[in-house]
Symmetry: C2
Subunit: 136 residues, 2 copies
Amino acid sequence: MGISKIDKMHNLSKNQQIIFDLIDKSPEPLKAYTILYNVQKRGIKAPPQVYRALDKLVEMGKIHKIESRNAFIACHNSSCQVDKATAFSICEVCEKVTEISSTGLSKYLANFKDKDGMKYNKYNLEFFGLCKKCRT
Amino acid sequence: MGISKIDKMHNLSKNQQIIFDLIDKSPEPLKAYTILYNVQKRGIKAPPQVYRALDKLVEMGKIHKIESRNAFIACHNSSCQVDKATAFSICEVCEKVTEISSTGLSKYLANFKDKDGMKYNKYNLEFFGLCKKCRT
DNA sequence: TTATAAATGTTATATTATTACATAGTGTTA
DNA sequence: TAACACTATGTAATAATATAACATTTATAA
């Protein structure tokens, strides 16, 4: 029998679970060292433990890295099983980050071909602007 | 009279010019400390000098930062006067980076509205895959 | 159970980026 | 020109982000 790949995806190791829980609860992207400080009481003491868990969680698609901010947010797009196609909006004033899930956008980008007719297996898109709150 | 804003955009300061020239000549994205090592003979000795020039050049749109790689490439898209709308393809094997200039893509993204009908003033898109060479 | 892979613990270090403050150049305008 | 504001530079120190290397433990599968 054994567990299927899908089941396995939800089976986080101890450190992965601790770190995922923290990110998932957070209303904003968390940085690696912020995470470290917050999980030291739970036994995770050193950077490599944090970065290893982050790497795996990103691979699994459970979290995403906001590259322009070196920070991590939980994926709330249930269809994200892999780190493959990501889009975010980022408020340049309050730094609020929201994952964009637009079928139109993801279809457009997944099918985008460059001049040479090449398609890509993965992308990351970050939009910048003012969020509703900061716009007013 | 004085120089117009446009003219001024092409008037780089000494350090900016040295660093721009290096990046512009390079066939691949350069990292800040690689730049530092390469311009020390020209009198630029410390990180802040490099980062300050990089910041200005990015603002002007003369270079772009590849966020996922912490590296910088010259803009070869002549219409880029500002750091506003950027798209790149990145080969995951050889790390070759190419700026994408597709009217269709930039129009689509400039006009993209999220669920709340919000448009953004800026974006950065990074595609990942295999370049021609590495694909074969 | 034994081999294998995945995850962990730990120390040290590498890489990327900024703060803070002093000085010098450039353009503007009174 | 003198005074001012603004931009750029020089320099030392340090902060923030990330990885290497190696020993050990835990989980999984044959």
